[in-house]
Amino acid sequence: MNALIERIRRDGARLNQEVMAGFYRDPFWRERFGTRGEKHSQEDGLYHLSFLAEALAAGDPGILTRYATWLRTVLVTRGMCSRHLAQNFARLAGAIAGWPGGENAVHYLRLAEASLRYGEGPARELLGSVDALVDATCARAEVPPERWRDELCTLLSYLADALASDRPDLLAAHLRWYLPFRERQGISADESRRVLAALERSLAGLAPAARLLQMARNGG
């Protein structure tokens, strides 16, 4: 275990750069958060590894999971969503999996990912229906699922975060930025609005989520 912890501390910066480089191949990150955001992302990645090392040293995954849920509040109120953080933990786990003894770190990172899933309420209900909602929305909007599946999963994460924190303004702020961004990516505003409208209709059985999405689409 000590060797694993030492390696995380010694090689963490390089590992973090590789993971961040993967994220930043998606233009979303630079466009959404700029160079300042890139700097914070790099710092956060190092913090993830520091807390991981500390959790392993103490034999207490709670150190990492408590950090994860605390950080989620910080990040979702600053324009990110839980899925982004979960993906970061997943990519770190993927990178460390091949290290000697890495399975311990992977286990802790998977627990951290799991800690980001809402355990109760409308957010939990929403996230339990993601696949069905994505399929229904794409069918209603008559858009190719391969163009929208990942985007909808992320949008649903934003929606779940807004539901869990009772902050429709967070989703509203994201949508205000998101629609022009998608247009710059070659997806017309009309298509994006059609998808959001289809998503709202698909949420008919999840009233709190549907109401919040409607409020956010109307400005929060």
């Binding site: 913090y47 520091s50 807390f51 500390e54 103490a58 034999g59 207490d60 709670g62 150190i63 408590r66 950090y67 605390w70 509040t73 910080v74 109120t77 600053r78 924190s165």
Partner: protein
């Protein structure tokens, strides 16, 4: 911005005082923050310990939450914390001090730890409880900590660690101090990082934990009870 309700408080309505205190902090209104604490708080019968705990620490916890939720900026957080430092100085000045207990306690934040308000509160509480306190403040380099311990020879060391990222520095400080003192100096630890890692005190083998100033005083009294009282050495 947070709106403060008007009117004076019931003597025990510390929650209302805390709301007004916090509002003053976030406006950067140092004088109003002091007025709330000294006139309305102390003036209505609340003790220094209550105000320190329920107002200052309580407001600080709320400030932390507001920053986490992006409702205030880091600059506002620093401004509010700086006001609390001023308030603590005034509270210290107005508090009654217990008779000397003949024990010296060194209080320090570990290297890299910039959040010194909890340690400041701990130092003040110990001082007012009659301990001879050497307070080193924020982010004390471990080399300097060890040198100070060797020079000042405290009876107890209290280390503060708020951010979990500084736990390696806490481990290093404990190990280096143990080496330098032959393990003879009792050590207590405190701070949010310790609260976040419940197994840490046992892992470090420290002699006690102080989650608050009062808890630290209790731990110090308990640990040092078996030692004979000595007059503090002149500094």
């Amino acid at each position: 911005m947070i709106d403060a309700p008007e009117g004076r408080s019931h003597p025990t309505d510390l929650a209302a005082l805390r709301t007004r205190y916090l509002a003053a902090q976030l406006r950067g209104d140092r004088r109003e923050a002091l007025r709330v604490v000294l006139e309305e708080g102390l003036g209505s019968g609340a003790s220094v310990a209550q105000i320190r705990s329920d107002l200052v620490r309580g407001a600080q916890a709320e400030i932390g939450r507001l920053w986490e939720e992006n409702r205030i900026s880091i600059a506002q957080e620093h401004m509010a914390s700086a006001i609390s430092q001023v308030v603590l100085a005034h509270l210290y000045d107005r508090a009654d001090r217990s008779p000397d207990v003949g024990k010296r306690v060194l209080v320090a934040c570990v290297e890299g730890e910039l959040h010194d308000l909890p340690a400041r509160i701990a130092a003040d509480t110990l001082d007012l409880a009659g301990f001879d306190v050497i307070y080193l403040g924020a982010s004390v380099p471990t080399d300097s900590l060890v040198a100070t311990i060797e020079a000042e020879r405290p009876d107890l060391l209290a280390l503060s660690c708020t951010i979990s990222l500084n736990v390696p520095a806490l481990r290093e400080a404990v190990a280096r101090v143990r080496t330098a003192t032959g393990g003879r100096l009792p050590i207590v630890v405190g701070g949010n990082a310790v609260a976040w890692s419940p197994g840490l005190p046992a892992e470090l083998g420290v002699d006690g934990v102080g989650a608050s100033g009062e808890e630290l005083v209790d731990a110090a009294r308990s640990i040092l009870a078996s030692q004979p009282p000595q007059p503090p050495e002149p500094r």
